[in-house]
């Protein structure tokens, strides 16, 4: 008989080991899945994990890794602050959308003026404010009326999607677009474009912002009083209150920061890789970032690595579809396995596996 025994304290070794074990288990189980689909599992795993970094076309894929990982990391770092304190912002996708709309609207308002030094920074600020305000809705409802921020933030994603569709069809629609939905392409408007900082590297301002966010979050959590309050609230809300933590301020701080970062991610995406506000602008970064945050153990450096790993499964997964003919659903199942195994093995951090019958007490 196998049973679980609670550890006195969470195992530090397992806390670091679970993500690695989860990735390995995903490779094994995913390989088996691919084999069942008639694809050589070695080749599939190689296409997903190896080729994008070291393969023939790595010069292109490495840059794309940054493009894909940038928004994930930026959003996940913000979410992790709240998650650590038990404040659950599930609606980063909505904040991402609103940030993109606000930023793009500012940029388009100036069209066709040429003043990059003014327009682009204003867009960045507008993007952050948009995401911040959208996150303040669940924040204030929670602190004022004690509503559940999980539900409110999640449902606001659907509201944001409707606003996005309205913007793409109405106020922000390209007047030269022959009546088709979608804004002007910001990438073709030099003063508003979030261009690659070095051509061909994929490195754009959003990636830079993500790296800065990682550093700031690290310092905040390890060196700053607010970081201490966040950790304390997560571990023991009662103790935190005795220690003088103001729960209202902490909720607003965590939601506000994560909202602003998600808004920034949206702005950098709409001004860069995506280029325009369209009905289908959002592709789920806000939700995937939740997985990234947990995969990275809610630690800023862990999130950096987890974001890159997640981006790798996306890019490698796409390559596997095109070159090996694997169905998209198999790739999604593969990514799902990653979270499944992570949560599964996470048990080992807090529990010890015992074999044999329980000893007589």
């Amino acid at each position: 008989m196998i049973r679980l025994e609670k550890r006195a304290a969470p195992s530090r070794i397992w806390a670091y080991l679970t993500p690695v074990v989860a990735v390995l288990a995903t490779m094994v189980a995913g390989g088996a899945l691919f084999a069942l689909l008639g694809t050589d599992p070695w080749q599939a795993i190689r296409t997903i994990f190896w080729d994008p970094i070291f393969g023939e076309f790595a010069f292109y894929y490495r840059g794309q890794l940054l493009v894909k990982a940038g928004p994930l990391i930026l959003i996940a770092v913000g979410l992790a602050l709240g998650f650590k304190a038990g404040i659950w912002n599930i609606g980063a996708e909505g904040q991402y959308i609103i940030g993109a709309i606000c930023g793009a609207a500012v940029g388009l308002a100036f069209y066709p003026m040429e003043a990059r030094w003014l327009i682009f920074p204003l867009m960045v600020i507008a993007g952050a404010i948009g995401g911040f305000l959208w996150a303040m809705i669940p924040g204030i409802l929670r602190t004022r009326f004690n509503t559940n921020e999980i539900l409110v933030s999640l449902l606001l994603v659907y509201v944001a999607e409707q606003i996005l569709a309205w913007m793409a069809l109405g106020p922000l629609r390209n007047p030269e677009g022959a009546g088709f939905p979608g804004s002007r392409n910001l990438r073709n408007y030099e003063s508003a474009a979030n261009t690659e900082l070095f051509a061909g590297t994929g490195m754009h301002w959003g990636v830079v912002a993500a790296l800065i966010a990682v550093i700031f979050a690290y310092i905040l959590l390890s060196r700053h009083l607010t970081g201490f309050h966040i950790r304390l609230t997560g571990e023991s809300p009662r103790a935190a209150r005795f220690a003088g933590v103001n729960p209202t301020r902490l909720v607003l701080f965590c939601l506000g920061v994560s909202g602003a970062l998600a808004g920034l991610a949206g702005l950098f995406e709409v001004a860069g890789p995506s280029g325009q506000i369209s009905i289908d602008f959002n592709v789920g970064y806000g939700f995937t970032a939740i997985i990234v945050a947990f995969l990275g153990r809610l630690h800023p450096v862990g999130i950096l690595l987890a974001g890159l790993l997640m981006a790798l499964t996306y890019i490698g997964g796409e390559a596997a579809q095109a070159t090996l003919g694997l169905p998209a659903a198999a790739i999604q199942a593969f990514q799902g396995m990653l979270l499944f195994f992570l949560l599964g093995f996470d048990v080992l951090t807090n529990f010890r596996v015992r074999f044999g019958a329980r000893a007589a007490a």
Binding site: Q43, L169, G179, S274, A322, T323
Partner: protein, 358 residues
């Protein structure tokens, strides 16, 4: 051992991308799909086109595809990926791939691109679409004759000219067949989302609608209609014959195969050039799926006659006198709509209620 298998796999991969039997490099053809190939609608038909290309050219072509590609930055990467893998021609099969297609085409001037339903072209980017509205007229006629409640519903995807044309064409011809007909439109803002499509169909049916038309790609509305009973539907983009003879009584089938074969051959011959193709019933790009026996014989005969009249050019779907929704004159008596007006259609015709979302 492990290492050896690994190397063998790698070697096999290199061999697989080798040369064809006659010593020529196979022409590589890529497809970018917006939905899954099993959607039973739009993407399914494009994939049938891919299979037809394979069938036609055998080992002279190598095909690849990627399904469920979001319209945006991800699409750009998917196309770049195919171009890097050596694709000679890439078909991008959704409206939202327009800007990405143009961007990637700029970086790969030697690769040919074909964008479906868009309006931006370049030296190496062609556009193509089908005159679905011709099929809509035939559907509209059947719908007008089949409805008992005189209420027809329309599940619309996005308010772009292509979709608005379909609504206008169906309504116009339903009204001609049955002057008492009313049409309600629900916008679902998706090309493929079985849950949303089913909800929309149910909402329409609850409001007394007994004929549901759709501009979305799943068979969820058919399933909802079958469940409700007595509700007529039409296959969209694909035949959807698994719901025949009822609730699916006919369909519009997009037959892309001849076009795809044609364009791939042009690449092989070196005769490919950028152009805009907009074909309808006559060349076979739009087909009317079998009209089942659930439709009375006389209605079926009228519908087929209408199809043939459109194919021969005798009947133009939009012929005046025709007013816009606000009552202003669009087409004078006997005047037919030109392609420019159709391509940019952003208004309802007279008699339709509700607004186009804006």
């Amino acid at each position: 051992m492990k290492k050896r298998t690994f190397l063998a796999a790698a070697l096999a991969a290199t061999m697989a991308t080798g040369v064809a039997a006659d010593g020529h490099e196979p022409t590589k053809v890529g497809f970018i799909y917006v939905g899954p190939i099993g959607d039973g609608g739009w993407t399914y038909e494009h994939h049938q086109g891919l299979l037809a290309v394979q069938e036609e050219f055998g080992d002279k072509v190598e095909t690849m595809y990627q399904e469920s590609v979001p319209e945006g930055a991800d699409a750009e990467r998917a196309m770049t990926q195919m171009a890097l893998q050596g694709a000679d021609i890439i078909f991008t099969t959704s409206f939202g791939y327009m800007d990405p297609t143009i961007n990637v085409a700029e970086k790969f001037p030697d690769v040919k691109f074909e964008h479906a339903t868009g309006y931006k072209r370049a030296d190496n980017v062609s556009t193509y679409s089908a005159r679905f509205y011709e099929g809509r007229a035939v559907q509209g006629h059947i719908a007008g004759k089949m409805t008992q409640s005189n209420k027809i519903g329309y599940i619309a995807s996005f308010p772009i000219p292509e979709v608005i044309r379909g609504i206008n064409a169906s309504y116009l011809w339903a009204k001609k067949a049955n002057p008492d007909v009313e049409m309600s439109v629900i916008w679902v803002y998706t090309w493929f989302d079985p849950a949303k499509e089913a909800d929309a169909a149910k909402a329409l049916i609850e409001n007394g609608v007994d004929v549901v038309l759709q501009h979305t790609d799943s068979t969820a509305p058919q399933a909802a209609a079958a469940e409700a009973g007595g509700v007529v539907t039409f296959g969209q983009a694909s035949d959807m014959s698994e719901y025949a003879p009822f609730p699916r009584v006919s369909s519009i089938i997009d037959n892309w195969a001849p076009y795809y074969i044609d364009r791939v051959r042009a690449v092989m011959d070196g005769t490919w050039e950028s152009k805009d193709t907009w074909d309808g019933i006559a060349p076979g790009m739009v087909e009317i799926g079998e009209i089942t026996d659930a439709v009375p014989a006389d209605v079926k005969a009228e519908a087929l006659a209408l199809r043939d009249a459109i194919a021969s050019g005798e009947t133009h779907v939009f012929t005046g006198p025709l007013n816009k929704q606000d009552g202003s004159v669009w087409l004078a008596d006997g005047e037919t709509a030109d392609d420019g007006a159709l391509a940019g259609m952003d208004f309802y015709i007279e008699g339709l209620t509700g607004d186009i979302p804006n």
